[in-house]
């Protein structure tokens, strides 16, 4: 499971919750373009992310060929995404400082 899988998973979870609230039945075939729409990735890529999430037990596929979160109320995805984002932010901050450090050294050369 990578960061992008979790992003897709979180978007998916929110979409399913919104549809449930609105009492809409949405089939997987409609869901995938909806999840892909704001991201620079293809529809098959979204399907691959969903399969990774299924293998990790984070979502499940029902008999009606719909994806649904495996544990809707447990929000493991929210935790995982938030935590991964904080880890990633730490590394990005480091990389910014490494970049600044190298620029300072370059300026002295």
């Amino acid at each position: 499971v990578h960061c992008r899988d979790l992003e897709i998973g979180l978007r998916h979870q929110r979409a399913v919750l919104a549809d449930r609230e609105a009492d809409r039945g949405v089939r997987e075939a409609e869901r995938v373009p909806e999840l892909a729409e704001p991201l620079p990735i293809s529809l098959p890529a979204v399907s691959r992310h969903l399969k990774v999430l299924e293998q990790a037990g984070l979502i499940a596929r029902s008999r009606e060929a719909q994806w649904r979160p495996a544990r809707m109320q447990a929000d493991p995805l929210d935790d995982a995404v938030a935590w991964m984002q904080s880890r990633k932010a730490t590394w990005k901050g480091r990389m910014d400082r490494l970049d600044a450090h190298l620029r300072r050294k370059g300026a002295r050369r």
């Binding site: 499971v1 935790d79 995982a80 991964m84 904080s86």
Partner: protein
């Protein structure tokens, strides 16, 4: 454990630095240089000790600026190819919920006169609250420890 890949998460970062690979490699492997950037934000880095060889130690202490709290971290160097590859295996930190080592892999590639660095860091357990009660607290501790 066959399900590790499916249930754990990996951080992947790619950056381009306006410096040759040798410079970037030094920034990762010379103590004074590491101390200049490792941070994280609001942290200073001290006591950087590096035994630059495969099997050697890579240790440093992060110091929180506002309260002086110290967070030592240690790694073993598991792969080393100057100036293109550094792979570190972290010491497990069970008190922070990290019972297994994580691998930080830094690859440096020529990118014209610049350097493209890819960094992967993980695996970090995630998304298994049912199996990992208390992960949130562990994550908080770890975040405090690493200053995330």
């Amino acid at each position: 454990m066959s399900d590790v890949a499916a249930t754990d998460v990996q951080i992947l970062i790619t950056r381009i630095f306006d410096a040759p690979r040798e410079e970037v490699f030094r920034a990762w492997t010379v103590p004074d240089e590491i101390a200049a950037w490792f941070g994280p934000e609001h942290f200073d880095t001290k006591d950087v000790r590096i035994d630059l060889r495969v099997g050697g130690r890579y240790e440093l202490t992060m110091v929180q600026r506002d309260n002086g709290a110290e967070f030592p971290v240690g790694y073993e160097i598991v792969e080393l190819v100057e100036p293109e590859l550094l792979v570190l295996r972290s010491d497990p930190m069970p008190e922070a919920g990290m019972h297994e080592p994580t691998i930080t892999r830094v690859e440096l590639h020529d990118h014209g006169s610049k350097t493209r660095m890819t960094l992967s860091d993980g695996p970090y357990p995630a998304g298994r609250r049912h199996a990992e009660a208390g992960w949130n607290a562990a994550f908080d501790k770890l975040t405090a420890r690493v200053g995330g």
